[in-house]
Amino acid sequence: MSQKDLLHVVTADDISERQKLFGRAIVWGSAMIAVAVAAAQTAQQMDVASFGFQTWRPTLFAYILWAACLCWSQVLIRGEHGKRTLFVLPAALFVVSLTVFPLLFGLIIAFSSWNLASPLGRQFNGLDNVRQMWSDPFYWNALRNMVWYSLAIIVEYALAFGLALLLNAEIRARKFFRIAFLLPLMLSPVAVSWMIGKSMLEIRFGPIARFARWLGWDNPSFFSSPEVARFTIMLLDAWTFIPFMMIMILAGLQAIPKELNEAARVDGANPWKGFWEITFPLMLPVSITAILIRIIFKLKLADIVINLTSGGPGGATDTVTSFIFREYRDRSNVGYGTLLAMVYLVIIIIVMTILMKLADRFARPRT
């Protein structure tokens, strides 16, 4: 984003001192109220005093009041500049309060043993969770599975590219095919896991099992051996998400000027060579964006696994998310699960940063 695109407005505000003072007063006033309410609730929590609070909602309301006052005061204190800030401020406040606070809070939970059902409440247990994680084979197994699942993206990408090329060819009923190819993306993974995973892959009379038997696979079973189960999950996930990559690549293909391919043909390149020398290099930036976004979505993969195999057989299909979900469901201990999630987040941030740096270098147009 270059600076010259920005809108420059010069405005002469004259804001009276009283107005500024009022603006500051409401921010600090509401902040004081919020702090006071939070302090009162903390006091009650620690049995110092009783104010008759049932939940922490008063603190939430006080916080919302403060946020509203902060937005209002921007206009009061800074006039036109404040009005511009008002475009971004609500979203920023929303995201900060819904991610940064829970993340900080999560850091506290991560280093404690906290069974939500037990009356003991939260107990700080230092590095116990880390030690438990270190010797938890299932967590490392889930992480390893994520690598496998992510590698499947290469195949998905190739398929999506092929489909996009097909849709970009001169065909009739393009709209019908586009909609048909897009539909799997619209379906909820839970419904997909029933529709395909439980129903069509049913061993005795699911249509796919029948088809497999007709092809000569005597005893089709899609979830009993670890490798096959993992492959099935990959297929289901690919089925839902290939349209996404396909649409992005198709958009990229349609942005390539037709003259380029024509010029290549005139120069005597066959279609195969034309693809590798012209289309593919031109598609690199779009491809990399599509793959990166796909990786991000892949790392969240859980719904299908939770509903179809719940990680089995023997953790072969576990994703990190589904593992933590089960970990919580089985033991209702939020401490350990949160630590696992935090570690996962750190790994994701490191890997994604490296990937983005690599992609940046790779996608830069070669001169």
């Binding site: 600076q3 809108l7 991610t99 829970p102 065909i171 909820s188 069509m200 990190v320 999630a341 996962y344």
Partner: protein
């Protein structure tokens, strides 16, 4: 066109045959993949009209292979003969359906409003929040996309418990808004950057305020982008399962949770499950067919420069 001006030499005709073979291959592949995409939907739709023996024998085509029955839809209370009568199952289903609809529509709307404002600000003005400048703020918003839901899930579970927001729609709406907000900002920033700033400059000269110019001039132009962002958010939030499974239990359950909870207990009631699944995916199929244009616009935003 009776008399060809140019004569085809035999070499051209052979390439004609090759062209035809190429076309046939392309259409074959297209139809093949269309079947892969559509067959599961077809299977679910037809299974909801089957009775037990039809399922066991793997019948495929209604009226030819088997006589359709309302069995599956009756179990949901949605068949013609039960639709007028009282039905607890239908009430349950409608409750879940409306929970899904309300959370999806509300969170998408909030996300589009907040996200459009933020994206507009970021594409037009230069900000400085502490050390953060425009590109940092954009990155901050978009980086939320990387955050896996599982990291937020357990802290939110505990926080919501304290705030009595567990099992409420508001709790889900807040979280869903958070998850789709980066996507909305991504789409809308692309949209606003394609609108020339001269438009607002003219409007400002004519005496409109910044917000006035935004609402009167820019919003109508950016509307297709907003619809695209809204539809994409709607799809993602309607289908969301993980948070809903963790944070709701009886009151605010959404449809995916209902579908998931049935798979264990009634795995054998194929027709009922098929009817439920089909009812859960039908709204999105309709959206996909009718509003495909916007969906594609949303997904390709920012991909092609």
């Amino acid at each position: 066109m009776s008399e060809a001006i140019f004569r085809d030499v035999p070499a051209d005709r052979s390439s004609n045959a090759r062209l035809f073979a190429g076309k046939a291959l392309i259409y074959g592949l297209l139809i093949g993949w269309a079947i892969v995409c559509l067959f599961p939907i077809y299977w679910t739709a037809t299974t909801s009209f089957k009775i037990a023996p039809n399922v066991m024998q793997g019948k495929l085509i209604p009226w030819v292979d088997y006589t359709p029955a309302w069995l599956g839809w009756r179990s949901l209370g949605l068949s013609p003969d039960t639709i007028g009568a009282e039905s607890t199952v239908r009430d349950e289903f409608m409750k879940r359906f409306f929970n899904s609809a309300i959370t999806a529509i509300a969170s998408s709307s909030i996300a589009v409003v907040l996200g459009s404002l933020a994206a507009y600000g970021l594409s037009r003005f230069s900000y400085k929040f502490g050390f953060m400048r425009n590109s940092d703020i954009s990155f901050f918003f978009l980086s939320q996309l990387i955050l896996p839901p599982v990291v937020l899930a357990l802290p939110f579970l505990v926080l919501y418990k304290q705030l009595a927001l567990l099992d409420t729609r508001i709790g889900l709406i807040l979280l869903y808004t958070l998850t789709v907000l980066p996507i909305v900002i991504w789409i809308m920033r692309d949209q606003f950057e394609s609108i020339p700033t001269e438009l607002e400059e003219a409007a400002l000269v004519d005496g409109l305020s910044i917000w006035g110019a935004f609402f009167a001039i820019i919003l109508p132009i950016a509307l297709p982008g907003m619809i695209a962002a809204f539809i994409l958010s709607l799809v993602l939030t309607w289908n969301e399962y993980f948070f809903a499974a963790l944070l709701t239990s009886t009151h605010a359950n959404t449809l995916p949770v209902m579908v998931a909870s049935q798979t264990g207990s009634q795995g054998i009631n194929w027709w009922a499950m098929a009817a439920l699944s089909f009812a859960a995916i039908l709204p999105l199929i309709v959206i996909g067919v009718v509003l495909e244009r916007y969906l594609i616009k949303g997904m390709t935003a920012g991909a092609v420069k």
